[in-house]
Symmetry: C3
Subunit: 380 residues, 3 copies
């Protein structure tokens, strides 16, 4: 979902507090708080804005020294067993790394970078919407310095979003340019059996160099997916996956929103990612105060990912594309592999709200936040 | 649940396309598709039916050679990290193995083989239904060539289904012929405390050679389970488990279905299995077009298993045997250890629909589908 | 939640069967059962009460011998792969260890020991409720002989329960006496952004020796949490976590209960624990027949924990503090990391009901129950 471009700098200016980072609120409210709460400024960042000096005094006996202890790179790997507490002044280095990640994220805000995807273009012939999808082995940059051997539809992970309307007849030409066979399953979409994409069950595999044509008329609206169903542990986890969204023909019962986001989780193949990227190289959802937006969660990994949004409650309205008879509120949506949930969020409170998988080993290490972390930024 | 016997061959004949396997739909529709989509025949199988030659031309530059590269047996072990893409022509061997699995599954369709279980017989005395269950250490064949040291009720995994009606008084004689003590917990069933089956909490353990008699009047209808509650990680995961179904006395609100299936998931002890078997040695659900059937999911493992059914939506009607006030539709039912969910499926579209745990490492490797995979086959 | 003190001995006396342990029900009903079911007494325990001799005869051919085979300590570590069946007479040693654990649990019943927590005291100034929380590195005794290097709020794991009423303005002074920085996130609580507790996103980290003051007016009632959001995999899993409960201003729709319990799950850091303790050093819920109580589940670990209660159904009424539009019954509540569920339980049947995570590797080994196990004891 593309919105008007907002850089971190613009966001901060919009908030009227260039240089004070996201702790502006803390600054404004500080006068109501005891003296020790007034250290509200961001630590120095590489940006040219002036940064006020911290005003919250550390206890003298714990004055940090100037020699941070470096941590070995190998410690960056998250494990189920948390790393030991830092020794000596390692905590300062830990803080520095945490800060660095957040700054990279905020400085990198760029709604044009493709993170939220764009619907795949199609051509129309005799009332049929025709899409072309090419399966390729590509190098995918999960984050700078971390490029993985991926498998991708049209060169990107996730593959391009396919978005049609209930009742549309679609024809999808799948070209296999990989060095192994594949097949495409339209996960959640009700199709004729021979279009279901399971090699040897419903079709021959699409061998290297071949093209297979899928064609069906869409019947069930909702947030669905498409992904490989051949050697699928490898092919899906490495990136052969994308959103397949069928908008209802009758939108009477559709929630009215200002924006619509797809958030696809993945784990073992290309690593712990949201829409193919790892924090701090994910993108936030940018919303204006009072707007409502929809998030379509899709889990293409092999682990659950309970997605927790700070500060703004989530109204769960669908399960696997089917409307829930009774939507319910929550702040953490547990999405299991293969599941989808649509939620509605009202941006009722301004600020930068962390938004992440709450399996903490998927989101934070001693080196700062990583992996399945992004944010919702609500601008006044 | 036993249905009229249907072999793969009969199924194919019923579909009117002997030799074309399950891709019949693709064949029939092929004329409407571009030329490259017309390769719709099954690759050669060991069955005697004639198989048409493939008509979809592979791109010349990727013409497969005749020498498949063998994969080492050790690669067959599914792991969280997907195997590397096959080198050279290994993809042809990979396809061959995928095909072989599907063929074994389809050739092995045999509704009489006990996969779906049969209710345990009982005798009645003074209005009490009396069941006998013997705990034994047995060799259990998860699949040919993979026999595990199991613990079983009456020699089978899962143990025999116990099915009674709400209000029935049941007496269950549990004989322990194993070399360690045990106890039987009626998971989900409301019982007097001394019948709850937790050694040292509610009863002494049933030691080797002993018999313990459980007796209670059933109060809460629903899909429940029985399993060991002593050294339970070992005993349950190795097979001391079964379905305990209490049909409601008043069936007014029961969904009307044509068939009723119990699907029990297990993992660490005897391996990734559905009803004690690993694909391709599982059995499909066979349904006629327009029929409705019920599936009772029961997770006796230590991992979640999100069960995804292709092509046919699932209406979730109960949780742990209790009717949901608002049933909801989905295609993936995430079942955690100890949970049960009943769903209703309408067989509205013919064909062979894959049906599997969507944690892909529980369902597919580079050697083809395995483990927690089966199918729903809808015949016209 | 504190109730009137009940020791195991008192409980047994209350049940009218000192010496017969919890198998009293089995004793009473035994006359209606076949002869072999009458062995209903507890095996000998260290308590001075007389224990009747077992009357259920073991099959002679399996007469246990007197020499139990010791198990190595290392086998006590639960793993995903169950231990092999005991050889020779190891089963007797296994039973002994199972029994020992249950006896420690029952003998240790002490509602005054703090397991269920007590609300943190506060002082009030100008209508603001002021709490003080100190972050410290402490040794935490998960069970005797198993003391871990923890991080704790006010020295205890979980931290003290903070309980206020919707609309209250709270001020929480967080003192950091640890050797690394921290930040406190009010998980599920709707707060101004600058009070959200995410270092570098919404505030500077609270460095060693510093104090940070959080202040906000509570808006959304419900069962929430507070925990670290800095180096959180380590800090939360090691114990920087607690319940933050906001009672509704309007209690019209609140369920009327006799007691209210918070049950916090944790795993990787301090190990598999309920409220910071491992069975048999957990405490049961004590209820009188006919009472209703509320349990507030909170998962602060990195794994799901499906909590199964024997014998008494659970009515799920909230998700993440938000009332469910349609409460539903179940016996197993699957709680993912970051989630909370409130349930209502009616103590309709007397006895000691096991209550545990149903991932059996979190609850039982060949050495008996451990970890995430407790009980509900309903007294007549």
């Amino acid at each position: 979902m593309n919105r008007s471009p907002v850089s971190r700098r613009n966001f901060l200016k919009a908030a009227g507090v260039a240089g004070a980072g996201l702790t502006v609120g803390a600054c404004r409210n500080a006068s109501a708080l005891p003296a020790e709460a007034t250290r509200a400024a961001m630590p120095p960042t590489p940006t040219p804005e002036p940064t006020p000096e911290p005003t919250l005094e550390p206890t003298p006996t714990l004055e940090p020294t100037a020699e941070p202890v470096a941590m070995a790179e190998s410690e960056a790997v998250p494990t189920a067993t948390p790393a030991p507490a830092p020794q000596g002044n390692a905590w300062e280095e830990m803080d520095r790394m945490h800060e660095e990640g957040v700054n990279i994220f905020l400085d990198g805000i760029d709604p044009t970078n493709g993170f939220w995807g764009t619907p795949l273009e199609y051509r129309e012939e005799d009332g049929v919407k025709i899409f072309e999808v090419t399966c390729q082995e590509v190098d995918w940059e999960v984050e700078p310095g971390n490029t993985v051997a991926a498998m991708a539809y049209n060169g990107i992970v996730p593959g391009p979003e396919i978005r049609v309307t209930e009742g549309d007849t679609v024809r999808i030409l799948v070209h296999n340019e990989m060095s192994q066979s594949t097949g495409v399953h339209w996960h959640g979409v009700i199709v004729p059996n021979n279009m279901d994409g399971v090699p040897y069950f419903t079709q021959p595999p699409i061998r290297p160099g071949e093209t297979f044509v899928y064609e069906f008329t869409t019947r069930n609206a909702g947030s669905h997916m498409y992904h490989s169903h051949h050697n699928a542990l490898e092919q899906v986890s490495r990136g052969l996956l994308g959103a397949f969204i069928i908008e209802p023909a009758d939108k009477t019962n559709e929630p009215v929103v200002d924006a619509d986001y797809v958030l696809i989780m993945n784990d073992v193949g290309i690593g712990l990612t949201l829409n193919g990227k790892s924090f701090p190289y994910t993108q936030p959802i940018m919303a204006k105060l009072g707007e409502k937006f929809r998030i379509r969660y899709m889990n293409e990994g092999v682990m659950i990912h309970p997605m927790h949004l700070h500060g703004l409650e989530q109204l769960v309205i669908t399960k696997d594309g089917w409307p829930l008879p009774q939507p319910y509120y929550c702040d953490t949506v547990n999405v299991a592999p293969g599941e989808r949930f649509d939620v509605i969020v009202e941006a009722h409170t301004p600020g930068a709200w962390a938004f992440h998988c709450h399996i903490l080993s998927h989101a934070e290490s001693a080196h700062g936040m990583f992996g399945m972390v992004t944010a919702v930024i609500v601008e006044e």
